[in-house]
Amino acid sequence: MKTKTLMGAMVIAGAALSTVPVLAADPATNLLSAMCSGCHGTDGSSRGPTIPSIAGMNAEYFVDSMKAFRDGTRAATVMTRIAKGYTDQEIEAMAQYFAAQKLVRFPQSFDPKLAERGKRLHENYCEKCHEDGGMKSDEAGVLAGQMMPYLRFSLDDFLQGRREIDKKMKAKVDDLLAAEGKEGLEAVVHFYGSQHDK
């Protein structure tokens, strides 16, 4: 899995500083990363309703995403144009910065019944990779508390072939759709959207 060990270690080092805002990284990296917050929210926590949070995102996932936007293998509205403005080194620096930020999960409106059903479906179909109810960001973005419209866009991109989906995930999503239909997928979105800071 690429440079996972090294990246992992750096993430842990970053996470240890996560209670300190802005000042944890060097000034140039702070500045580079502060440019993102106009869209993604201060320190990477989005107030939504649509643009995803990037705070607390696994650094490797951040780097992979930016590179996929840059080379056009992942579809997007603005990110494909934005990613082309950054070098590998800058992307790595921003990845460390955002991995070290504490994600603030802002409340979203959701259907409690759907969310309850989504919780069960998550445990059956998603928990194996998106651990801890989608709270963890090991190989993917944080799902718990992520903006719901963004999650719908992402699922649509995976299903429509606008974004590469790995085999394991494809199989799980297909199973879920076969057993529960589109409402099952929507239920999972509501489960993630139901998780917010108290």
Partner: protein, 424 residues
């Protein structure tokens, strides 16, 4: 302005110690450093907030005449009927929570040599560094007959608030079959795609409520921002409703007759039922009064720090500044404010300012399910803010309907996040 409460002092000292332990380079010892920020729009408010976040030991005073700020961005949505003015209203309570001292007064003088700012209310504030973010002002009279008084009848609506509502009310009371004239400004001006977004959202309102009406854009320019995207959008949603007259085709407005509601160009004259005149612009008045502007009315600066090249220790950011390839937009002002705040913090402690990076995204709405963007990633190149080659640019002309719908959804999020980053 020398006051610092005991609790404030302990808080400031505590966070300084923490920063020191982490080896961050901002430790400022000795006398409290003072920064005065002039203007509480996106540029000024962001600068004040980020200065405090970066170094709580700095005493930051923001001086702004108004107690509430209405964002100019998204005010076209209010004019088109898709949003209330109330949703554009922001107070300075958020900045106060960051320890910014907010003073409501009008700055009348900035003296870089003495390091003082003076106000209409007779107050005087000392500074080590001053950040000026006065936005734009209008060249009244540049279009004959169009002065401040005339704008009470023919609104500019290019500073949000009462002007926005005036234009909205005029559109509401216009009869079906009427003509709306938008007089577009010459470059440079605040929000390059703004006049064309305005035409789009007015067209949406008219299409729904007064479908026999027309919109005429009289423009001194021969092109405009995101033009292929706007023209494709107009054709798709409002065929035959919007006519754009370029400078070459005689679109430059020379004069207005307020009572007769007529705009005169070199060759012709046009009668409108509603006339929106967006006048030629300069940097905000205080920038001119303080000697910060060049003969064209905009403020030259060192783009690594935004320090004025005309008045040392005074920085100019946002619409008023000359910022290379960056447009005059709220995101640009927010981005410049962060570069400037970082530089000021470094300079106050005798450090080298960090390598700058700049960014902009502008959303323009064409219809309720259709928005487009322009994006810019910028670096300092040979002393000028320049776009990173091969990056940025406008929404692809062949973007799918799904992507255009998403741009609209993201636009609404952008508003929430940037206003929180500025005022929250």
């Amino acid at each position: 302005m020398e006051r610092i409460s005991r609790r404030g002092f302990i808080k400031a000292a505590g966070s300084t110690a923490l920063v020191g332990m982490l080896g961050a380079p901002y430790l400022a010892l000795g006398a409290t450093k003072k920064v005065v920020v002039v203007g509480g729009g996106p540029g000024g408010a962001t600068a004040a907030k980020y200065l405090r976040r970066l170094d709580p030991g700095i005493e930051v005073t923001l001086i702004e005449p108004k107690k509430e700020y209405y964002t100019c961005f998204f005010s076209n949505e209010v004019i088109g009927g898709g949003r209330t003015l109330e949703t554009l209203r922001f107070t300075y309570d958020g900045l106060k929570k960051h320890g910014v001292q907010v003073v409501h007064d009008t700055v009348t003088g900035i003296d870089g040599g003495a390091g003082t700012v003076t106000t209409a209310g007779g107050q005087r504030f000392a500074f080590d560094r001053c950040i000026v973010a006065p936005g734009i002002d209008f060249k009244w009279g540049a279009i004959e007959g169009y002065d401040e008084k005339a704008s009470e009848t023919l609104p500019h609506a290019w500073k949000a608030g009462e002007q926005t509502m005036l234009l909205r009310r005029q559109l509401e009371s216009m009869a079906d079959g009427g003509t709306v004239i938008i007089v577009a400004p010459p470059s440079p001006y605040r929000c390059p795609p703004g006049p064309y977004e305005r035409a789009s959202l007015i067209a949406h309102y008219l299409k729904t409520h007064k479908p026999k009406s027309k919109i005429l854009i009289l423009d001194p320019k021969d092109g405009f921002s995101k033009r292929p995207l706007f023209e494709a959008g107009w054709k798709k949603h409002y065929p035959g409703m919007i006519e754009w007259v370029s400078g070459q085709k005689g679109g430059k407005a020379e004069a207005v007759d307020v009572a007769a509601r007529v705009v005169r160009t070199e060759m012709d004259q046009f009668k409108g039922d509603v006339i929106n005149v967006i006048p030629p612009q300069t940097a905000g008045r205080i920038a001119l009064a303080a000697g910060l502007a060049d003969d064209k009315g905009w403020c030259p600066n060192d783009p690594a720090t935004f320090e004025s090249t005309l008045v040392p220790k005074v920085h100019v950011i946002g619409d008023a500044s000359i910022a290379g390839a960056m447009p005059k937009s709220a995101y640009a002002a927010n981005s410049q404010a962060k570069v400037c705040a970082m530089a000021v913090v470094a300079l106050l402690s005798g450090k080298q300012p960090p390598t700058p990076s700049y960014f902009n995204t502008c959303y323009s709405m064409i219809a309720p399910d259709h928005a487009v963007t322009i994006v810019g990633v910028y670096r300092l190149q040979d002393g000028r803010i320049s776009e990173v080659p091969g990056s940025g640019g406008i929404t692809p002309v062949d973007a799918s309907e799904e992507m255009l719908r998403r741009e609209m959804a993201y636009a609404q999020s952008w508003f929430n996040n940037i206003t929180d980053d500025i005022f929250g």
